[in-house]
Point group: C2
Chain length 233, copies 2
DNA sequence: TGTACATCAGTGAACGCGCGTTCACTGATGTAC
DNA sequence: TGTACATCAGTGAACGCGCGTTCACTGATGTAC
C-alpha cells in the first residue's frame, strides 16, 4: 500500500518521489512534535505540512481542517492512554491496592512522556460533545479507572459503608490530573517540589484509601510505624 | 488624573475624546473578555485594542507586548485569588476543618467565576521563572493554603504521626486544581458529572482528612452514620 | 487669570509576514483487458 | 506481458485576511511663570 515505509523517519524533504506514501502519519507525527514544543495552540496546519516536506495544500487530502487533525491526535492519545492504563492495572494483580497505585503512576508517566498527547486530550479546547468518537475513546480510558475503583470498592471492610465506585474513580482521576497538570508535566510550566510527583501522588492515594477505611499496610505498617508520607528521617 | 472615570464601562468606542483616559484598564478588561471566550491563546493584541475602541498602536503605550499584558492579568489574578482564599480561610474560624473546606470551595468558585483569570494563571504557558513578580504573587496565594495546612497539621491527634504541612498543602491544591480543570470550569470543556464539583471536592477532602486521622465528625457523625459522600438515599 | 510650552496618549497609514484555503494542474499508481 | 485509462495524492501559485509592530504625526493635558 505505501512505499518505502522504512525510510519515512527522516525529514521527508529530500529524495522522495511525487507521492509521499505515508503523509497522514507524517502529519500526525509533525503535529505531535509541534504541539509538544509550542502547545496545542501554537501548532499550525502550514507548519505541519512544512515539517512533513509537502506543500501547504497537501494536508487537505487527509484532514478536513486543523481541528480534525487535532481531534485525530486526541483520539489516538486516548487510545494509547487506555492501553497504558490497562497494562498498569493488569486486572488487579498482584493485589488490588498495588495495581490501583500503579494506575496512578502510569497516569503521571503518560502526562510526562507524552505531553503533546496529553495537551491534545485535555487542553485543546475541542468541544467534547461535538465528536462522539473522541468522547467514546475518552470514556473507554476513564472506564479503566472506574473498573479499578469498582474492584477496590468491593473490598471495603465489612464495618465501613461501601464507597460509591464512580465517586472514587472521579477522585482518583482528579488527583492524578491535578498533580500532572501542576507538577508533573514535561514542559517548563511545572513548579518546584520538595518531592517527586510520583511520591506526592502515591502518598495522596494512600491517605485517601485509608480515609475510606482500607487497610494500606500491605508492606507491614505494624513493623514500621510510618505514615503514608514515608518513614521519618 | 483620569477623566470621566464614571463612564468607562460602556464599549468606549463612542463619544470619547482623543484621550481614552483609562485605556490600560480597558485593555485588561477586554483581554479578560477575550480570554474567557477563546482561551489565552485565542486572544490577540489587536483584538483587545479594537474592543477598547482604540487604534492597534495604542496598546503599545501601556504594554511592551502581548506577553506583558497576559502576565499583568495573571498577576492580578493571583492577587485576587489570594484575597479570595484569605477571606475563605478567615484565619481558621469558626473551626479549622470548616475553614479549610471553605478554602477548597473558594478555589472552585474562583475557577468557575473567573475562567479568564484562571486560564491566564495556570494555562497561559508563561515561563514561571521569567517573571519574579508574577511568581511571587503565585507563591503568596499558595501560602494561604499552606498556612491553613499548617494549622490543620498542628491539630493532628496525639496518637498519629504529624503529617507534613507542605505535603498536605500540595495535596489540597492538586485536588482542587484537578477537579476545577476537569469538571468545574465555566467553559464547554467540562465533563458530565453525577454530582456537583463542590460536593465532589468536599467528599474528597473529608476522606483525605480522615485518612490522616482527623476526626471529620463535626456535624455529629455518630448520630447519622453516613460516609463523607453523603447520607444513603 | 492668562499664556507658552513640555509632555502625554492617542492616530492612522504602512510594512512584512504567515496563515488557511482554493484551484486547475500533473506525476505516480493500480487495474482491467 | 503490455497497454489504456481511471484514480489517487501530490504541486505551486494565488487569494484575502488579520496579526504584530513601526513611524511621524497631532490633539489634549498639565504646569511654570
Amino acid at each position: 500500500m505505501s512505499w518505502r515505509k522504512d525510510k519515512d523517519k527522516d525529514d521527508g524533504r529530500a529524495e522522495r518521489g511525487y507521492h509521499h506514501g505515508n503523509l497522514k502519519e507524517a502529519l500526525l507525527q509533525a503535529a505531535l512534535d509541534l504541539i509538544s514544543k509550542k502547545g496545542p495552540a501554537g501548532f499550525t496546519f502550514a507548519d505541519a505540512a512544512r515539517m512533513a516536506g509537502v506543500s501547504p495544500a497537501a494536508p487537505y487530502r487527509h484532514f478536513r481542517d486543523r481541528d480534525e487533525l487535532i481531534a485525530s491526535i486526541a483520539q489516538r492519545g486516548f487510545e494509547q492512554f487506555e492501553s497504558v492504563l490497562t497494562q498498569a492495572w493488569d486486572d488487579g494483580r498482584p493485589d488490588t491496592v498495588t495495581a490501583f497505585e500503579r494506575v496512578g503512576k502510569a497516569y503521571l508517566a503518560f502526562a510526562r512522556e507524552e505531553p503533546a498527547f496529553y495537551s491534545a486530550m485535555f487542553e485543546s479546547g475541542l468541544p467534547p460533545d461535538a465528536n462522539p468518537t473522541l468522547m467514546a475513546a475518552s470514556e473507554r480510558a476513564f472506564a479503566i479507572i472506574r473498573a479499578a475503583a469498582e474492584r477496590l470498592a468491593a473490598l471495603a471492610p465489612p464495618g465501613q459503608p461501601r464507597p460509591p465506585a464512580m465517586m472514587m474513580a472521579l477522585h482518583i482521576w482528579a488527583m492524578s490530573h491535578g498533580i500532572a497538570s501542576l507538577f508533573g508535566r514535561g514542559d517548563a510550566a511545572r513548579r518546584k517540589l520538595p518531592m517527586s510527583p510520583e511520591e506526592l501522588l502515591e502518598a495522596e492515594v494512600l491517605i485517601y484509601l485509608r480515609g475510606l477505611g482500607f487497610p494500606t499496610d500491605r508492606q507491614a505498617e505494624a513493623a514500621a510505624p510510618a505514615g503514608p508520607w514515608g518513614k521519618p528521617r
